[in-house]
């Protein structure tokens, strides 16, 4: 899907994020810098509260950094307005959440169509893309099932199909296996591995599970809002 393999996709320079919880100042990120190339499969690891989810939300354009630079395909994201950020979330980024975040009382197919709805894809094409996407995660037989009729693993696979449907440059997965049993977790990771290997889709994965991180090619270890270790796992 992404032909720009090995070109620079994401560059983050001395990124900081400070939350103000009433009087208390919480520093979630203290000067993080790294880069991600097209076709990468990066695992961000670290204990809870180390700032890895905060980083993911900033990369996913759901949150803004307090200071520092974030370039996505060469564009300075922190300077964009809300409408442009919405466009990036819609077209360039597929987000997979720990809590699945599917719409309740809605069919699998409708959930997957959601990003296409906001990019004005005509109905027929929308249906076709959604079904293709659902086939990629191996759930073609479940398209008319409602969210609550699906198991946790299936819900997460629907969420991955939704992240894929608009052919994004990058998929961000925040603890995608955190709420499913270990077997479903393995299946989900195999899907990510396949997408990365066969479709050359760039993936950034947040996890604290060492087993899960072994599916990735590169690894960054976080502690207290800073990168403490960088490692190449394979290739």
């Amino acid at each position: 899907m992404d032909n720009r393999v090995n070109s620079e996709l994401i560059r983050v320079e001395s990124l900081t994020k400070i939350y103000h919880l009433g009087e208390v100042k919480v520093v979630a990120l203290r000067g993080v810098s790294f880069e991600v190339k097209g076709g990468d499969f990066l695992a961000i690891m670290g204990p809870s509260g180390s700032g890895k989810s905060t980083l993911m939300n900033i990369i996913g354009c759901l949150d803004r950094p307090t200071s520092g630079q974030y370039l996505l395909e060469g564009t300075e994201v922190s300077k964009l307005d809300k409408k442009q950020l919405a466009y990036i979330r819609n077209k360039k980024i597929g987000f997979v959440f720990q809590m699945f975040n599917l719409l309740p009382r809605t069919t699998a197919l409708e959930n997957i169509e959601l990003p296409l709805l906001y990019s004005n894809v005509p109905t027929k094409k929308r249906n076709r893309l959604a079904e293709e996407s659902l086939a990629l995660v191996g759930l073609s037989g479940r398209k008319m099932h409602y969210t609550h009729q699906l198991s946790g693993g299936e819900q997460q696979r629907v969420a991955i199909a939704r992240a894929l449907v608009n052919s994004p440059s990058i998929i961000l997965a925040d603890e995608p296996t955190g709420n499913v049993d270990s077997q479903s977790g393995a299946e989900i990771m195999e899907i990510f591995e396949k997408l990365n290997n066969e479709k050359k889709i760039t993936i950034i994965l947040v996890t604290h599970d060492l087993e899960i991180s072994k599916f990735a090619k590169k690894m960054i270890l976080f502690r207290d809002g800073e990168i403490v270790k960088r490692e190449i796992i394979k290739d």
Partner: protein, 405 residues
Amino acid sequence: MNLLKTVQVALKALNKNKMRSFLTMLGIIVGVLAVVAMVSIGQGAKVSVQERISQLGSNLLFVRPGSSFRHGVHGGWGSRTTLKPEDAEAIVEECPSVEMVSPEVNTRGQVVYKNKNWNPSISGIGADILAIRGWKMDAGIFFRRGDIKGAAKFCVLGKTVAENLFSDVSPIGEIIRIRQIPFTVLGVLATRGQAGGWFDQDDVILVPYTTAQKRLLGIQHINSIVVSAVSAESMSSAEQEISELLRRRHELADYEEDDFNIRNMADIQEAVTETAGTMTILLAGIASVSLLVGGIGIMNIMLVSVTERIREIGIRLSVGARERDILMQFLVEAIVLSLTGGLIGIIAGIIGSRVISSIAGWPTMVSVASIGLAFVFSAAVGVFFGFYPARKASKLNPIDALRYE
């Protein structure tokens, strides 16, 4: 996202919460129903008042002499004796906008038939009074012109008088005594009913005005002249012509005020119609309050709905919904609710006003304007009360919305 898709999404969301959607609509339904039904009652009242007054004669003018003024003392209106039968004749002959006239001489008197007696008002009138006033005969015949000219001792009874003097015999052809003078009863007028208060329009005896002048009162003047204009439109020209004619006939100098006074039915009609209009506005105002309350209900539910669906909003934002998309989604939901409620309310209002007509017997009239107004108003309620919650939803930060528990 285009509008059609937005409407579809909104409908789907409303469909998922059928009961809540219906209860929200109920406020608007009742409000619109009240507006449509109340306005139809008001309109119905207005139209029936107008009809009744035009039955009284919307093309009628009443000429009365002015107030007398002797030795520094004013009499009441009509106390002058300047109006003469010749004035009436001149009016019908010389004023082109006037169709018919009838002089009037009014008095009261004791009326006796055998061992019964009664004290009705006695009206001396001209031969054209039936045509002018649109009165009808119940039985017998009316005066001919010759009877008027000859001051004949004939009379026509109002229904109340006939009932009081003649309980079971026909009064036609009988002799009654008015102030001791024998009169032959020619006929009985059809009933006209109460004219408001205790004034009974049927408690009257009609006699030729000449008879009233000469035999009953011994006077030369008349009390008033009833004039019918050729049409309702020519009222003001008729008034003008009569005024000029009478000033000339009464030889009034330019500095002198009129010694007569002209009133017309249109003034009265206008006043009463205005009153009915005020009532319509009042009723619509009261009903609008319930529509407003319905609107607040929508705002309340939409606010709850926004809070309840913060996660949904977060999900939509995270997959690329823009502020505008979220704003439109919730706004369209509110508008769909209020418009659907408005439509149901209009239908219920039409049915309701029919039911009121048939049960309470009030005249109602559902006007297109009131339907249009109710519809536009309910849409406006949707936009107005839907906007704040929708805006609140659209301003949410995606990450905060996703984390909301």
